[in-house]
Symmetry: C2
């Protein structure tokens, strides 16, 4: 039986209940935070539409909505870096989901790093702020994996 | 010297460079993922405007933008549950930040739980989907802490 979402009827139902009643924004999207199920590292933050969230629940593999391509995105379909969902959680007001995943191939970032969050922002006021790399070696070469596919980064 | 953001000039600059050039969406907001610096648990997913991100960097305490109140939000100003930022990271296309924090009082959720993500979504197709609570005891009583302040959850 396909996954059904429930209508949002009350704050108590949404915050304290056991019904899944996610809130999608005006674009029809909900943010998804994806962490490595073993290390706890945040791998990426993506977006899901209703179809992507339902497919993620039903199949146990992470599906997102690609805003740059405007299409459903089965993560790993191109790169092979499929994310198997070990645990899926929803937040208090049900406008965000958290996926704990294991990743075939060990990388989740289209630039080639393990995590999309490979740069640190130094804290405090300073003359010049320079990001610090926390990963130095890429897990894969994005040119080999994606070829001439357009880069999803929007300026 | 106050924190300055750089203009976004190229994909290489944004993805592979050391300049902080965050992308705020059409509402002027960037999503922020907040994890516990010790346990790695995702505590909340919030939003920042440019001012909130600058204040977070400059002060080392998490500032967000409250969409329900339409105002800058120094987390913990009302509840005392201030988040001290231990590490701040930015993602590949610089449209999301990740805060690793320690929390005075040990809770980050306005409902009273440690994390906002206190319910699990069971995976797979099934007759009826029921969320499973992963936290059973609240850290604080929200009525005592927030009194009659309006609940931020939007239906």
């Amino acid at each position: 039986m396909p996954v059904q979402f429930q209508p949002r009827r009350s704050i108590e139902q949404v915050e304290e209940g056991t019904e899944l009643a996610p809130r999608f924004d005006e674009r029809g999207l909900i943010p998804a935070v994806t962490t490595d199920a073993v290390t706890g590292e945040v791998l990426m933050q993506g977006w899901m539409n209703a179809e992507a969230l339902k497919l993620t629940i039903e199949t146990g593999e992470a599906h997102y909505y690609s805003r740059s391509r405007g299409a459903l995105w089965h993560k790993g379909a191109t790169s092979g870096l499929v994310q198997t969902v070990r645990e899926l959680l929803v937040d208090d007001d049900q406008d965000c989901v958290w996926l704990k995943v294991t990743v075939a191939g060990g990388a989740s970032c289209h630039v080639g790093y393990r995590s999309c969050f490979y740069r640190r922002v130094p804290l405090g006021s300073r003359e010049e702020l320079a990001l610090e790399f926390t990963e130095t070696d890429k897990v894969f070469d994005p040119h080999e994996v994606y070829g001439d596919a357009p880069n999803p980064t929007v300026l």
